[in-house]
Every structure is written in structure tokens, then in C-alpha cells.
Subunit: 160 residues, 2 copies
DNA sequence: CTCTACCTTGACGTAAAGGGAAGCTTGTGC
DNA sequence: GCACAAGCTTCCCTTTACGTCAAGGTAGAG
């Protein structure tokens, strides 16, 4: 239950939002910069994945020659992406929300939109949960029927 | 709560297994035969789907010239396929189980295998259910954080 | 100079379950 | 004699989230 190990293995959502709000774009001289490998290790994703996300417009690291250089902001975006994935958003949906953030005109409106999406997702997840519960019931019924049949069959076999 | 309407719209699993055990292969003269359209209507699937299933080896209707002719057995298989889908098996997995049935040597062994698969599925579904519950928790936490932020922002805006 | 590790782009593959459309038959009824 | 309904086959398209080569660049270690 310590809290200093595994810095962001599970990316607390609170921290994500917090990071998002830290918002140290490129304002200060040179914050912490990361290589693609750094982020891959930290968040346990493959390099391919990071490049893929970039290709999809989810992250936009600068270049140092050919190599990608990720800022803290890129890192925060990645965190958001991964948390989005965990709760079931598609990359496209996530991009939509990230793009909204980037517009950051009033911010408030954007947050409201995000909030709505979250609530939609919650509804969807609850529905899926019910479907799974349905499936579970059907399966349990089935297994009990089948095991009943099995017992009959075996009993029959013993009698013959 | 009546039980005579919607014959198989939801295919009771008990009935499925029962059908499977009726086992009227081609033994008796001429049972009931169905056209592709018949089954499509009865189970609310498209013709495309039925042909697709055939393509995947899940059903093997005979031909009357070019046209497909489905036997009661084909129909029972279809029922199993659809129920398998409902509980989350892939078509490939379903085919595997159906093929086992067709080996019908001892039958008992096959039923045991099916039973195992069912239990595996149950485990998977339970896991998914937990994941969904996790996601729900994360989302709920997030929404509360975000709506908290929103309130702050709005309050701040009013003060400025 | 050569290894090795790490990085790059780009194209193609994969799984799942069909959807959709083109274009040909066949049967039925008027 | 023709339209219309149903079927048939074949082939390509879709979505999601990457994995997997291919083919080569670059930098530091020894």
C-alpha cells in the first residue's frame, strides 16, 4: 500500500487531470524531455504503439533530427489516451476529446463536453455489464443442463 | 410471461440442448425442411449471415439444385451457433464445439469438453465484468473530479 | 572500423462478422 | 412473353488497434 513505487503504472485519473492542468507547454526553458523508449517503458506500451498514436494525431512529439522528443505535455496526453482506452473509449473518440482540450478557448465548455462523454460511456458500460450478466446467466443455466445430462448418460451407461 | 409466442426468438438453451439430443439426423423419412429465407426470418439473421456461416463450416445444408435446404438438424446447429454468439464465443470456437459433437463417438466425452469450455467462458465473462466495474469506478471518479473542476472554474469566472 | 542497440519510415497483415453490390438463374403468375 | 421475387456466387469493403517485416540510418563502445 505504499505510494512511491510504480509512479504511473496505473495512472490515477486524478493525477491525469492534474497533469493536464499543470499545463507546462513549452513555457519554461527545458522541462523534462523523454525519448520514445522512456515513455514506452514508463507506460508499458511498445514503440510501435507510440508511433501509431502519433500517426493518429494523438501525440505530437518534436523532433531532434529524426528522433522523437516527448515533452511533459506529450506525456500527459499519453496518460489521457491510456486512461481513455482503459475505460473503453476508441482512439478516435479520445482524439476528439484531446482536440477539444487543445482548442482551450474557454476550457469550461470543453470540460463540459468531456463530462458528457464520460457519462455516455458510463451508460454504455452499465449496459455491457448487464449483457455480460445475461450471458452469464444463460451460460450457468446451460452448464447445469449439460452436467445434468452427463449424469444421466453416465448412469445409463452403468445400467446397460 | 406466456410461453407460446416467439417460438425461438431467444432460443432457450435448454431447448437447444434438447434439440441437439432429438438428433433426427435423416433417420426418419422427411422431417421439416427450411429454405434460407425461412431460417433468416425465424432467427432474425440475414441471408448473408447464413451463407457466411456455411462458408465457415458451421452449417451444411443440402442442395436442391442450387438452393439450400436446411434440415431440422441444421436448424438446431444454427440455434447453437446463435446462443454461442450471445454468450461471447467466437465463430471459430463454436465451430470447434460443433465439430466435436459431430464426432459423436461417446458423446459423453464431448459433452464434458463443452462443459469445460462453458466454464472457461464463465471465467472470462466474470473477468470482463470486473474490468467493466473497474472502468466504471475510474470513470465515476473522473467525472466527479471534472465536475469539481468545473465548479471551481465557474466560481472563479464569477469572481473575476 | 565494426558491433550492437536503438531509431526511422512505410507497407502490409490480422482477427471478427458480416455488409453491399454486381450480375446470373429460376420459378411463378398474369 | 415479361416482370418480379428469391436465390445464387464472387469479390471487395469496413472497423480497431496495433504486429510484423523490410530496409536502412546513427551513435557510442571497444
Amino acid at each position: 500500500m505504499s505510494e512511491s513505487d510504480e509512479p504511473a503504472a496505473e495512472a490515477q485519473i486524478g493525477a491525469v487531470i492534474a497533469d493536464k492542468l499543470e499545463d507546462d507547454d513549452g513555457l519554461h526553458p527545458r522541462g523534462s524531455l523523454f525519448s520514445i523508449g522512456d515513455l514506452a517503458r514508463e507506460f508499458d506500451v511498445t514503440l510501435r504503439t507510440l508511433r501509431f498514436y502519433e500517426d493518429k494525431g494523438l501525440i505530437n512529439p518534436r523532433r531532434e533530427g529524426l528522433n522523437r522528443l516527448y515533452s511533459r505535455r506529450d506525456r500527459a496526453r499519453l496518460k489521457l489516451v491510456l486512461m481513455g482506452k482503459r475505460v473503453g473509449f476508441s482512439l478516435t473518440e479520445i482524439k476528439g476529446m484531446l482536440d477539444l482540450y487543445d482548442l482551450r478557448d474557454g476550457q469550461v465548455a470543453q470540460l463540459k463536453v468531456a463530462l458528457d462523454r464520460f457519462n455516455d460511456r458510463i451508460a454504455i458500460l452499465e449496459k455491457q455489464k448487464k449483457e455480460i450478466e445475461q450471458a452469464l446467466m444463460e451460460l450457468r443455466r446451460t452448464t447445469s443442463v449439460v452436467s445434468g445430462l452427463l449424469k444421466e448418460k453416465e448412469a445409463g451407461a452403468r445400467r446397460s
